[in-house]
C-alpha cells in the first residue's frame, strides 16, 4: 500500500471504502476546486453516511417511482435480445442487418464477481475488434475499470454497441424524456459526462490489447423515451469536451498528495464503531475533523454534493453562501459583516489598498439605497 493509499485509508477509518462509479466520477467536474470533496471521494468515504451522522443529512433522496421507471425502461429497451435497441441502431446509424448479435455480460456463467466479469468483458470486446466476422454487435452491461486516484473503480455502462462503422459506441439508456427533440439540459449534461467516463474506461480496457483509442467513438448514443410515450428514441451526443475536462480532473486527483499534505496529521473520519458496529464517535468531533479539510462551498453544491448542508452551515455569514455572482458583485469581499462595514463607511481602507475599490463600490450602492428608501443601509 503506497503512502498515499495509507493516508487515505487513515482518513476513511474502519468503514468500507465506497468505490467510485460513473456518477461520482462525473461529479468531480461539478466543483473541482473543493479539497474536502476531492479527499473524501479519493478516500472512498461514504459522504451520505458521514453527513447524516454529523446532523446534516443530504437534501436529496431517490423516489422509488423514479427508480422503477428507470429499470422498467431499460428492461423494455433490452427485452428479447435488445430488439428495441437494435431497431434504433439500424435506423439511427444504419447498422447492417446481419449485425444482430447480443452478448449478455451481466454474469459469466452465473458468476457475477466483478473481476471475473471485467476479464470476460475485455476478452469479448478484444475478440470483437480482432476477429473479422461474427464479432458481436451489442454487449449488455459490460464491466469496465478505471483508475481513479490510485484506486480501481468498476464501471458498468448500460450497453456498448460495436460494428457501427467498425467502432465501439457507448450507449447510455436514461428514462428522462426527449420531447420534440429536446431534453432537460442538465440531465443531458449529466448523461454526457457519464458516457465520457465510459469512453475513457473502454479505451483503457482495450489499450491493453493494442486497440487504438479512436476505435472507441467519442460520439455516444443516448437512448431516452420519446415525447410522452415509453417508446425509445436515440440521439448522438458528442462528448469530446467532456473527455478533455475529465482527463484533466482525473490527473488532478492523481495529485491528491498535495491536498493530503495540508491535512493535520492523524486526521480521520472514522466513526469509531464498537464491537456491535454501532458508531461511538461524537458527531461534533467528526464535524470538527471534516472542517479541518478546506471546502469551497457554492450554492450549486446543494444539487450535487452530499456534504452540502454541513458546508453551507460552515459558510454562514460569508458572501460565498449568497452565490458566485453575488460575491463578485460585492467586490469579492469574503464575508457579509465586512461588506456591510465597508458599505457603511465604518471601515475606510486607505487609498489604492486591497479593498479601496470594493469599498467605493459598496459605499455608493449603500448611498443610493439610503437615498431612495429613506433609511440607512
Amino acid at each position: 500500500m503506497s503512502g498515499t493509499e495509507a493516508r487515505l485509508a487513515r482518513v476513511r477509518g474502519r468503514a468500507l471504502p465506497r468505490s467510485h462509479n460513473a456518477r461520482t466520477i462525473a461529479a468531480l467536474a461539478a466543483n473541482p476546486g473543493c479539497a474536502r470533496r476531492a479527499i473524501m471521494d479519493a478516500a472512498g468515504v461514504d459522504k451520505q453516511r458521514i453527513a447524516a451522522y454529523t446532523g446534516y443529512p443530504a437534501p436529496f433522496g431517490q423516489s422509488r417511482f423514479a427508480l422503477a421507471r428507470g429499470t422498467a425502461f431499460e428492461a423494455q429497451v433490452k427485452a428479447s435480445g435488445a430488439a428495441g435497441l437494435l431497431t434504433l441502431l439500424r435506423e439511427h446509424l444504419d447498422l447492417p442487418i446481419p449485425e444482430a448479435h447480443y452478448d449478455d455480460l451481466n454474469d459469466v456463467g452465473g458468476n457475477t464477481d466483478l473481476t471475473v466479469r471485467y476479464a470476460a468483458t475485455r476478452q469479448k470486446l478484444a475478440t470483437a475488434v480482432t476477429s473479422a466476422a461474427d464479432a458481436g454487435t451489442m454487449f449488455d452491461h459490460p464491466l469496465l475499470r478505471l483508475e481513479v486516484g490510485g484506486r480501481h473503480a468498476f464501471l458498468e455502462p448500460d450497453l456498448i454497441a460495436f460494428q457501427l462503422r467498425g467502432r465501439f459506441h457507448v450507449v447510455e439508456i436514461k428514462s428522462f424524456a426527449v420531447i420534440d427533440g429536446q431534453a432537460d439540459g442538465d440531465k443531458v449534461a449529466q448523461a454526457a459526462i457519464q458516457s465520457a467516463v465510459y469512453v475513457l474506461a473502454l479505451r483503457q480496457a482495450l489499450a491493453g490489447h493494442g486497440v487504438a483509442p479512436e476505435t472507441v467513438a467519442d460520439e455516444t448514443i443516448l437512448v431516452c423515451p420519446k415525447d410522452f410515450s415509453s417508446q425509445p428514441a436515440a440521439t448522438s451526443v458528442d462528448v469530446r469536451k467532456q473527455l478533455t475536462v475529465l482527463r484533466r480532473q482525473l490527473s488532478r486527483i492523481a495529485r491528491i498528495d498535495d491536498l493530503l499534505g495540508q491535512l493535520p496529521p492523524g486526521l480521520t473520519l472514522d466513526l469509531d464503531p464498537d464491537g456491535a458496529g454501532v458508531p461511538q464517535r461524537k458527531p461534533a468531533g467528526l464535524a470538527a475533523a471534516i472542517r479541518a479539510i478546506d471546502a469551497r462551498y457554492a450554492p450549486e453544491c446543494l444539487n450535487t454534493c452530499e456534504m452540502c448542508f454541513l458546508c453551507r452551515d460552515e459558510a454562514r455569514g460569508t458572501t460565498a453562501r449568497l452565490g458566485r455572482a453575488a460575491r463578485e458583485e460585492l467586490g469579492g469581499v469574503e464575508d457579509v459583516p465586512a461588506v456591510l462595514r465597508l458599505a457603511r463607511g465604518e471601515h475606510r481602507p486607505e487609498e489604492e489598498g486591497d479593498l479601496a475599490e470594493a469599498a467605493a463600490l459598496l459605499r455608493s450602492a449603500a448611498a443610493l439605497r439610503a437615498e431612495i428608501l429613506g433609511e440607512a443601509v
Partner: protein
C-alpha cells in the same frame, strides 16, 4: 374530526421526520423499525376514518369502483377463468405457442393475449426452482419440465430465459444471434396464432405491434398491422441469421450431452462445465 385522529396525525408527522433522517443516514435497521411503526399508525388512522365514515353510513356497491390500473403486476388475475390453471401450465402453454425460449414478461403477455389470463412474472423465478427440485427428486417423473435455456459458450443458464425440457437440446442453446432469431420466430408464431383467433383481441394486437415495430420492413403507423407482412419480413431477416445461429447452437448441443441430466436441463454453474467437460 375527532381528537385521537389529530393526535395520530401529529404522531405520523413526527414518525416521518425520524424515518426521513434514518433513511438518509442509511440506518437501515432503524428505518425498517420506524417504517413499521409508521404503517401501524397510518392503518390506525385509516381505521379511525373508516369508523367515522361507517358512522356516516357511506356505502357503495363494489361494482361502481373505478377501473384499476391495467399496468399493475397480476392485474385481472382473479377476473379470468384461466387464473385457476397452475402457473407451470400457463408458462408451458405460452412456451409451446412460441416454440422458442422466452423471458417471463413475454410469456405473460402471450398468455394474456391468447389464453385470456396473465400471471405475476415475479413468481416465475420460484417456479424454475421448484421444477429443478422436483426433477432432482424424481428425474423425468413428469411429462415435461419448465427448464432453462443455456448460454452456448458456458452452458450456464441464460439469464431470465425459460424453455421446455422436451424440446430438442439445440433449441435451448443460446448463442449471440439466438435472441434475435428467437425474437423473429416468436413474431411469426404470434402472427400465425392471431390468424387463428376467431376475433381480434386488444392484448393480442398490442403484442403483435410490439413485434412488428422491431422488424424492418413492416409498416406500423397504420391502424392495423398486416399479419402476412409481419411473417414475410420476419422470414426475410431470419434467412440472414439462421445458418450462422444454428451452427453455434448445434455445436453447443453436442457439448451439453456431456453434462449430467440435471445440468443438461438446468445448466452448469460457473466452472462446472470444465469439470465435466
Amino acid at each position: 374530526m375527532g381528537e385521537p385522529v389529530v393526535e395520530l396525525e401529529r404522531r405520523i408527522a413526527a414518525l416521518r421526520t425520524a424515518l426521513r433522517m434514518a433513511a438518509l443516514a442509511g440506518e437501515k435497521e432503524q428505518a425498517r423499525a420506524l417504517r413499521a411503526e409508521l404503517r401501524a399508525a397510518e392503518r390506525a388512522w385509516d381505521d379511525l376514518l373508516a369508523e367515522d365514515e361507517a358512522g356516516a353510513g357511506a356505502e357503495r356497491p363494489a361494482g361502481t369502483a373505478e377501473s384499476p390500473a391495467g399496468t399493475g403486476e397480476g392485474a385481472r388475475v382473479t377476473e379470468r377463468p384461466g387464473a385457476l390453471m397452475p402457473l407451470r401450465e400457463q408458462v408451458h402453454e405460452a412456451l409451446s405457442l412460441l416454440t422458442v425460449p422466452a423471458a417471463p414478461r413475454l410469456l405473460a403477455a402471450v398468455h394474456e393475449a391468447f389464453f385470456a389470463s396473465s400471471f405475476p412474472t415475479a413468481r416465475v423465478t420460484s417456479l424454475k426452482r421448484d421444477e429443478e427440485r422436483s426433477f432432482r427428486l424424481a428425474p423425468y417423473a413428469r411429462p415435461y419440465y419448465i427448464c432453462a435455456a443455456l448460454a452456448a459458450d458456458r452452458l450456464a443458464p441464460s439469464r431470465g430465459l425459460l424453455a421446455v425440457s422436451t424440446w430438442p437440446a439445440e433449441r435451448r442453446m443460446i448463442g449471440s444471434l439466438s435472441p434475435r432469431v428467437d425474437f423473429l420466430v416468436s413474431a411469426i408464431r404470434v402472427a400465425d396464432a392471431i390468424g387463428r383467433l376467431p376475433a381480434g383481441s386488444l392484448p393480442a394486437d398490442r403484442l403483435l405491434r410490439r413485434f412488428a415495430a422491431n422488424i424492418p420492413g413492416v409498416p406500423v403507423h397504420s391502424a392495423t398491422v398486416d399479419l402476412r407482412m409481419v411473417v414475410q419480413a420476419a422470414q426475410a431477416e431470419l434467412e440472414v441469421h439462421q445458418a450462422a445461429d444454428s451452427r453455434v447452437r448445434r455445436a453447443a448441443a453436442r457439448r451439453v450431452r456431456e453434462l449430467d441430466d440435471v445440468q443438461q436441463l438446468f445448466g452448469a454453474r460457473f466452472g462446472e462445465e470444465r469439470v465435466s467437460g
